[in-house]
């Protein structure tokens, strides 16, 4: 396979946007293209990640729309829908195009505009990824699945609500250092868990998960420019190589899993990505995990291989995953506070890591980061893409 590099990365501020869907996608794409500074090197292909535009924005064929909007015709173009893992799936497809020699420059853009519908409709649209006959039809939503998962995980491994609150506090704090983050507000243990008013400030959503255990519903777009080795050499500067990608699936219905607390798809995807990269979890300097719910940061950090089973919450108590810890997790604020425009999330994780590896993450920069890892968690863990990025100094 030919090597693949990230030459540029950009995104819009996540939050609630008045911009139309394609404007969001265009702004992120142009930011990434400007960052890559390609000069007269043409873009061969455009891949757009999105989950819900057909339903909530009444728009399909987003690849064709974006390539035209950016005046990149006649570049190849397509759209990818793979639930909340759409972003990393699109990234993988872009990498495959370059690795195969089919393209030298690929623009990968993830976009979602889901605040256009109300919260109930938004929750229902995301729930449509669940198994239709045994989950969705009975009213399952992602928060309810996560609540049941959290209850089981907490009972089995001794995780307490204070550990979930620690994740929220950490990620909210990180987000205040990220100008692109949806939530720019710190929270405290007293305010969301231990104080007498916490019961009102932080109401239950799906026990044991409360409001501040759940990511916000966001609009936004993120974009990366992938290039071949030849193009990367022409561009010069610090290079971010796509060192490994792994993808794995699990049963559609969570109830069919032998052990629902075992995020098998995360484990397998991670193993594949690290194997391809010739690295181990111990080599990672910074990670972006898919913390749509705080419990997922704990579970994914174990399934990805950073901690043993039942050990992540202890590491969190020790502050190991803080920005100044031994393995900073979600320096961007994660989905929890940076926001979660579903189709954009997987790309946004890689945008953050590309900036981290290039030393461009400003106030949240992880010192001397060389190897980075991302986990984009689709469905309720039934389709996961893991990515390892490595800095190469030219």
């Amino acid at each position: 396979m030919n090597p693949v590099y990230i030459a540029g990365a950009g995104m819009t501020r996540f939050g609630r946007s008045e911009w139309p869907l394609m404007q969001l996608a265009s702004v992120a794409s142009l930011a990434a293209l400007r960052h890559a500074d390609l000069g007269d090197i043409p873009v061969d292909s455009v891949v757009v990640a999105n989950m819900g535009a057909a339903r909530v924005n009444q728009q399909t064929a987003l690849g064709s729309a974006l390539v035209d909007q950016l005046a990149l015709v006649p570049a190849m173009a397509e759209a990818v829908e793979n639930g909340p893992a759409s972003g990393a799936s699109a990234f993988k497809i872009g990498c495959q195009a370059i690795a195969s020699g089919m393209a030298d420059v690929v623009l990968v853009t993830g976009v979602e505009r889901m605040r256009v519908v109300n919260g109930l409709e938004g929750t229902d649209f995301v729930a449509s990824l669940s198994q239709p006959e045994v989950e969705y039809i009975y009213g399952v939503t992602l928060p309810s699945l996560a609540g049941m998962f959290a209850r089981l995980f907490m009972d089995r491994f001794g995780v307490e609500r204070k550990h979930l609150a620690m994740i929220a506090i950490k990620n909210h704090e990180n987000a205040t250092k990220n100008p692109y983050a949806h939530i720019q507000q710190t929270v405290t243990m007293e305010g969301i868990l231990t104080g007498p008013e916490a019961v009102v400030n932080n109401p239950p959503i799906a026990e044991p998960l409360h409001l501040f255990d759940c990511c916000p519903v966001s609009d936004g777009a993120a974009s990366v420019v992938l290039v071949s080795e030849g193009v990367a050499k022409k561009l010069g500067g610090t290079r971010v190589r796509v060192a490994g990608i792994g993808q794995a699936t699990d049963t559609h219905a969570v109830q069919e899993r032998e052990d629902p607390t075992d995020l098998k798809a995360v484990r397998l995807a991670s193993e594949k990505a690290f194997s391809m990269a010739g690295a181990t979890p111990k080599d990672v300097d910074v990670a972006e995990l898919h913390d749509a719910f705080t419990i997922l940061e704990i579970a994914e950090s174990e399934a990805s291989g950073f901690f043993g089973r039942g050990e992540a919450h202890v590491a969190i108590e020790r502050g190991e995953t803080r920005l100044d810890g031994t393995l900073p997790i979600n320096p961007s604020g994660g989905l929890k506070a940076k926001g979660h425009p579903v189709g954009a999330t997987g790309v946004a994780q890689l945008v953050e890591l590309a900036w981290q590896l290039r030393g461009e993450a400003e106030g949240r920069q992880v010192k001397d980061a060389k190897l980075a890892y991302a986990c984009n968690f689709g469905g309720f863990g039934n389709n996961v893409v893991a990515t390892v990025l490595r800095r190469e100094d030219s």
Binding site: Q185, G191, V200, N201
Partner: protein, 231 residues
């Protein structure tokens, strides 16, 4: 009170005795302390200044809430509304939000508006709850008539409490069919929706004595979000 002319007196609605709202302090999710206290008539101009830039903010129906609240506060200041009260939420003295309402009679209250300036910390929920607390616990009323002008309000009041329909009653806010919070529903919801501690420390009270405005730009940014395209 200064002497008023006979004509002016005839223009004013009759007034009932209204108990004061004792201030309380609420620790928000951010750890900041918000003092909720009653606003005196002479403080109304400061609130009007805070509301003014929101008259043109369409997001989440702030424009209509701001416009109506502006009129209600003026009516309170100029004695042209019966038995109105205003509560404000102040964080380090800075205005975070306000609510108002009035007493219809001894048994029934009417909620007017809830306007949040500092968003994302359930300030509006806390202030609305304080308003219900005032009607039910301090004024000893049996029920409060309520409508919502935005989907957010509908979710917060009608669904979260939950309120009952009283559609045969037209609410003063546009004749919209009313919902009602009966006393028993209030007490059932109180443990999960009504927060705050009394007495408020001298230090916190001192900090909340005068109302500091966050500034027009800040008010609009906090309400409507960052302007896109800014980097």
């Amino acid at each position: 009170m200064a002497r008023i002319s006979e004509l002016e007196a005839s223009l004013r609605p009759p007034a009932m005795d209204m108990p004061p709202y004792p201030p309380k302090a609420i620790t928000l999710a951010s750890g900041e302390k918000m003092v909720v206290r009653q606003v005196a008539r002479e403080e109304v101009p400061v609130l009007l200044e805070a509301i003014y830039p929101l008259l043109w903010v369409e997001r989440d129906f702030y424009d209509i809430v701001a416009a109506r609240l502006f009129g209600e506060l003026l009516a309170y200041k100029r004695y042209r509304v019966k038995d109105e009260y205003v509560l404000a939420g102040l964080i380090d003295g800075v205005l975070a939000g306000m609510v108002n309402g009035r007493l219809v009679d001894e048994k029934t209250g009417m909620s007017y508006h809830t306007l949040t300036i500092r968003r994302g910390l359930r300030v509006g929920s806390h202030l609305f709850a304080a308003k219900m607390e005032y009607h039910i616990e301090h004024c000893k009323q049996e029920e409060v008539l309520i409508v919502a002008e935005s989907p957010i309000g509908f979710r917060r009041w009608m669904i979260e409490y939950p309120l009952e329909k009283r559609f045969e009653v037209q609410h003063e806010l546009g004749g919209v069919p009313s919902w009602v919070l009966p006393r028993e529903t209030y007490y059932a919801a109180k443990p999960r929706l009504v927060a705050g501690r009394r007495p408020v420390s001298e230090e916190l009270l001192r900090g909340a004595q005068s109302i500091v405005l966050p500034g027009e730009e800040t008010v609009v940014r906090q309400v409507a979000g960052e302007k896109e395209g800014e980097e």
